[in-house]
């Protein structure tokens, strides 16, 4: 019923709030996006922008209290995830939706052999016998490129390097051939050469298994080569949503533009100053009435600190949360032509 346009996940007006001593933190405040089958969505943002909370919400992993999903729908393949009893959510997790985290050392149990941890997944979700699960685990390690997997399978996590542990995590996440893989900063803790290996691995798995992927990262370079579309988050809101190529070529939000400009370009002359977004990300407990980015924005006008900006549609798939989205977009197009 849900497959009519091949949508695997749709999130509508999701709001996840946290009760803290300082007040209510609106970590995610009205996020909507859609992911088609086989597609990769990039979620970009700085720390505290709400990108991880968005995905923990999808997995129903928000600690409650202090957190609470106060509003919204999360529809995964026709299933309303937020209305599901928690036992059924558990059945989705690991089997149909899998997640890999930034730090593979803290997400693997240091006291258990890799084999035990990998076998648990398929024994639980696929009803494998011990022998089947063991064989399957070796196969998974081979798939993710661990050399001599039959020798490594009974090792403990500390016996693997960081890159190898991340591979083990991916092997575990992919054990049941999930339809959706959520990768939260999967390569941030890794060296660039290992990062390249892991990204290549995710790309290949995606094309072989047709898995849909949500890739959460702060690195614009990573999403550039990996995704079909991107949402940029700031202070719990979607600031811009666009197809990847368009977001990079003609951003319609000053924050996105600032982020793009503040990445050092190797072709640049040395000694030149890097573009910098002034100030600090806002205090999420005390967000202003107007645009949360106004204080740091170079083209902000009076209206920006007074009124919350509208989510303006630039074209069919491109939206931007800015009073001047159309103007910013036009400027980007102009700058692009000059180059």
């Amino acid at each position: 019923m849900s497959n009519k346009n091949g949508t695997i996940l749709s999130v509508n007006d999701l709001r996840t709030y946290f009760q803290t001593d300082d007040g209510v933190v609106k970590a995610v405040d009205g996020i909507s996006f859609e992911l088609k089958k086989g597609e990769t969505l990039g979620i970009v943002g700085e720390s505290g922008s709400g990108k991880s909370v968005t995905n923990l919400s999808v997995m129903r992993l928000i600690p409650e209290p202090p957190g609470k999903i106060v509003n919204g729908d999360i529809i995964f393949d026709g299933i309303d995830v937020l209305k599901l009893p928690i036992e059924e959510v558990r059945h989705l997790r690991g089997k149909r939706i899998a997640m890999i985290f930034q730090d593979p050392m803290t997400s693997l149990n240091p006291f258990l052999k890799i084999s035990t941890q990998l076998m648990e997944v398929t024994q639980l979700h696929l009803g494998h016998s011990k022998a089947e699960a063991y064989k399957h685990a070796i196969e998974m390690l081979r798939t993710v490129g661990i050399p001599a997997p039959e020798k490594r399978i009974d090792n403990y996590p500390h016996e693997f390097s960081g890159g190898m542990r991340q591979r083990v995590m991916i092997a575990m996440a992919l054990s049941c051939e999930p339809e959706l893989l959520i990768a939260d900063e999967p390569t941030t803790a890794l060296d660039v050469t290992i990062q390249a290996q892991i990204l290549e691995l995710i790309k290949n798995l995606k094309s072989d298994l047709g898995t849909s992927v949500i890739l959460i990262t702060h690195d614009l370079g990573v999403v550039a080569g990996m995704t079909e579309k991107i949402i940029v988050m700031y202070a719990g809101k979607v600031f811009e949503a666009a197809p990847t190529a368009e977001l990079f070529s003609s951003p319609a939000n000053p924050y996105t533009k600032g982020l793009l400009k503040s990445v050092p370009d190797p072709a640049h002359e040395e000694g030149t100053d890097l573009y910098q977004i002034p100030g600090l990300p806002p205090d999420v407990v005390r967000l202003p009435d107007g645009c949360p980015f106004a204080e740091r924005c170079e083209r902000a006008e009076d209206i920006c600190s007074r009124d919350f900006p509208p989510f303006i549609q630039i074209n069919e798939n491109h939206h931007s949360l800015c009073h001047f989205a159309k103007e910013v977009h036009a400027e980007s197009m102009e700058e692009r032509e000059k180059v």
Binding site: G163, H218, G258
Partner: protein, 344 residues
């Protein structure tokens, strides 16, 4: 006293080894290999850092780049070779003499959360080195601290606050202010921006750049982020398993890397441009960095190198000037044939 040629720091065959023990009677008894295990974290590094320049040092984790930085300030013991600062070999100074030198040689650390004492106010954190070295006393310490805070872009009214009241970027500014407190000439910046958000990274890089111009500082900028290193450095050294494999001016190393490892390292960096990403071919290295305990024989990179030949397993390459001011250590390339892709 010695000829410096405008070099502030000269490293000559610098070595830092960590002895892990083993190899004794007891280890054989308990089934050990019977060999003494020594981590050769820095194994014969030779280069100069010119006055007023930023030398970038890149490499993967475990390559020894942080150890090298620490050795320059003698925060770790130097096993062999020399580290000469203004004609004085840092390795041979007594502890008291070294303490005196720390006024000139300072460090900025990676993790602004872990490197500041949570029980001290900013005023005390930044003021401590001023008092320790007797650079000011009484009320003038506070004045100096206020000046330093303004210099690094922090409001002096935060002087009574504690580190937890600041964001990561602000904490890194505190770390920089503390390093600047003794008016140093040389600063080792060990991954100063890795823990920060993208928009904040640019702020810290610009701040370091401005301070350098203003105070004629010399930096050793250690990072695994090649884009950042390229941006801030005049010259870049690439390190692999305790050795420098390539050293050149920033533009040269990025546009025309000669060593197979540098090629792979630079190609691995994702470019924030979907069009470039779709078209370019990436050199993907297989495997991890081998253990520095028993590094591979010959060229240490040969186990992961796509261009390796039999000779690479046995012959240890030397860092040679392949092009003017562009040094690389690979036996397959030479000034006559610098491009490894053109060698059949």
């Amino acid at each position: 006293m010695s000829e410096t040629n405008g070099n502030l720091i000269s490293l000559k065959n610098l070595k830092v080894y960590y002895d892990l023990g083993g190899g004794g009677f007891l280890s054989k008894l308990t089934g050990g290999s019977g060999e003494r295990r020594v981590v050769k974290a820095v194994d014969g590094v030779t280069f100069d850092i010119k006055e007023g320049e930023t030398l970038g040092l890149v490499g993967e984790s475990g390559c020894g780049k942080s150890t090298l930085g620490k050795a320059l300030l003698r925060l770790t013991k130097i096993t062999g070779g020399k580290a000469v600062y203004r004609g004085q070999d840092i390795a041979s100074l007594t502890t008291t003499e070294m303490r005196e030198q720390r006024k000139h040689l300072q460090m900025i650390f990676q993790d602004p959360y872990a490197s500041l004492n949570p029980r001290m106010t900013v005023g005390n954190i930044v003021g401590e080195p001023i008092r320790t070295f007797g650079l000011a006393n009484g009320g003038s310490v506070e004045n100096k601290v206020r000046d330093l805070m303004e210099t690094v872009g922090l409001s002096a009214r935060f002087i009574k606050r504690y580190p937890h009241e600041f964001s990561g970027g602000q904490r890194q500014r505190i770390g920089i202010a503390r390093a600047l407190a003794v008016d140093p000439e040389f600063i080792v910046a060990d991954e100063p921006i890795s823990a920060l958000d993208v928009s904040i990274q640019a702020q810290i890089m610009n701040l370091m750049n401005d301070l350098q111009k203003e105070k004629n500082l010399t930096y050793l900028f250690i990072s695994h982020d090649l884009r950042a290193v390229r941006h801030v450095s005049d010259r870049v050294a690439v390190m692999y398993l305790g050795e420098i494999v390539e050293l050149a001016e920033g533009t040269d190393i990025y546009e025309n890397p000669l060593h197979p490892y540098s090629k792979a390292l630079i190609s691995a960096v994702p470019v924030p441009d979907p069009e470039v990403e779709a078209e370019r071919e990436r050199v993907i290295l297989t495997g991890d960095v081998p253990s520095p305990i028993n590094p591979p024989s010959g060229c240490r990179f040969h186990t992961r190198c796509a261009y390796a030949i039999n000779e690479c397993k046995t012959t240890e390459p030397k860092l040679v000037e392949i092009k003017p001011r562009h040094y690389s250590s690979c036996i397959r390339i030479s000034p006559e044939q610098p491009n490894i892709d053109e060698i059949s």
